[in-house]
């Protein structure tokens, strides 16, 4: 006789997952609230904030440059392929530019940063948690939210839009390079296409999304770091969870924010 999962256990399993999902979500929102309260101590945290901005922003640049060049390049290539025989190529820049500024640059930048920064945040705070450094902060009367979480969240919310601006620019350059060298479209015509129907609000919406993604990456990273337990293994699990959840939430919130910002 084949062994089957008893129904109740299955339900219990799913139910447990759902309950856990909501209790995590609640806890993340509580952490967000505490982080907002920690804003009051911003003057004391400028130094740490600055350090984190360096880490999140400046040190992510090389990675962003590489991913953006190729993202721009491939989107120009794919668009040219899809346009062939239907749409004049002078609209290539229009389509590619919009796609980059609204979707590609913010989302791909966020995913890359989630892998780099989200993982680093979870691993660092997680290690501090399991080695009692977080307890030590508490014992000294220093709030870990103010000392650890706030600088990371503030830095990510500020730096993600900045990185996205770079990504926008570099991706469009990459797209233009492909247009010029491989599609045979003069650079001027490509750029005219980009400018055509260009709305500042498109750019801004991309940056708003980037800020939301920055919040998600840092908050989820801090949350999983602070809930790490055990030893190296626990830190590893927290780090994985932080990256996976940040990535999932970036894509979900991307859709949500898009439906709020753009009416069709």
């Amino acid at each position: 006789m084949r062994w089957q999962v008893p129904r109740t256990i299955e339900l219990e399993y799913v139910g447990g997952k759902v309950v856990r999902f909501f209790s995590h979500t609640g806890a993340v929102f509580i952490l967000l609230g505490q982080t907002v309260v920690a804003l009051a101590e911003i003057r004391k945290r400028v130094g740490l904030w600055f350090d984190q901005m360096l880490f999140v922003g400046v040190r992510s640049l090389p990675l962003i440059v590489i991913t953006s060049v190729f993202t721009g390049g491939v989107s120009a290539w794919q668009a040219a392929y899809q346009f062939k025989g239907y749409i004049p190529l002078r609209y290539l820049g229009t389509a590619v530019g919009k796609a980059i500024v609204i979707e590609l640059a913010p989302v791909l930048t966020a995913l890359v940063v989630a892998g780099r920064v989200g993982a680093a945040i979870a691993a660092e705070i997680g290690t501090m948690k399991v080695t009692e450094q977080v307890d030590a902060l508490e014992a000294m009367g220093i709030s870990p939210v103010s000392y650890l979480v706030f600088p990371r969240v503030a830095a990510s919310v500020v730096m993600l839009p900045v990185l996205t601006v770079f990504a926008d620019f570099i991706a469009i350059m990459g797209a233009m390079a492909v247009a010029v060298f491989f599609v045979g479209l003069p650079g001027e015509i490509f750029l005219n296409g980009v400018k055509l129907f260009f709305h500042v609000s498109d750019l801004m919406s991309g940056l708003v999304k980037a800020a939301v993604f920055g919040l998600i990456i840092s908050l989820v990273g801090c949350y999983h770091g602070l809930s790490a337990e055990g030893g190296a293994e626990g830190v590893g699990q927290s780090t994985t969870r932080a990256v996976v959840w940040a990535s999932v939430l970036i894509l979900v919130s991307d859709y949500v924010v898009a439906t709020l910002l753009f009416s069709i």
């Binding site: 660092e124 290690t127 307890d135 030590a136 508490e138 014992a139 000294m140 009367g141 220093i142």
Partner: protein, 248 residues
Amino acid sequence: MIEIVDLHKSFGRKRVLDGINLTVREGETAVIIGGSGTGKSVLLKHIIGLLEPDEGSILVDGTDVSSVRGEELYLLRKKFGMVFQSGALFDSLTVVENVGLPLREHTDLKEEEVLEIVREKLALVGLSGVDNQKPAELSGGMRKRVALARALVAEPEVMLYDEPTTGLDPIMADVINELILDLRKRLGNTAVVVTHDMASAFKIADRICMLFKGKIIWDASPEETRDTKDPVVQQFITGTSVGPIQVV
């Protein structure tokens, strides 16, 4: 004054503290002895509000630690200096930054003043020339002493020591013992010391309490403790594997 009343704590199904009653008077050094895993660290963490009791209360100068939250709790914690068993140094900070952190956070002292106090405390624990090293570059004993310097840098009213001499050579252990005594003499510090180093316990204690099976089963002066006929205490202080304390 610290008053622990009927403190219970379990982790899952594991009962660690099972009705602790203990009072530590102002200016007194109470030493808590007990085997590994009996819950000594857990007890210390309750005093400073890092763990919440399942039952019972901890009163610090009349305030119930588990009833205060947020700012109030942080304020209360400033009365304490705690030396963690593992040291718990911040590994992203240098020695000087580690020790100076409580001052930078809680006082308006200028950078030079902070540095001066930090150097003074480091000298007190017998450390020099390691100012700009990271904890990972130090030996275990040095880390412990940095942790000690950090705990006492703000000259707190109450010091909590979690195995301050474990892992030190006998001479350095005695330096730490002298330091604990000296601190108490100069600042009139109250101290709770968790240890299983009996030499240290006899040297620094006003009172020796023993934690066994979740309860304080012994509470007496060092002299009485040394001469005790209590089989459990006797086994522990003489360090024999045969007796009422089941090792395996």
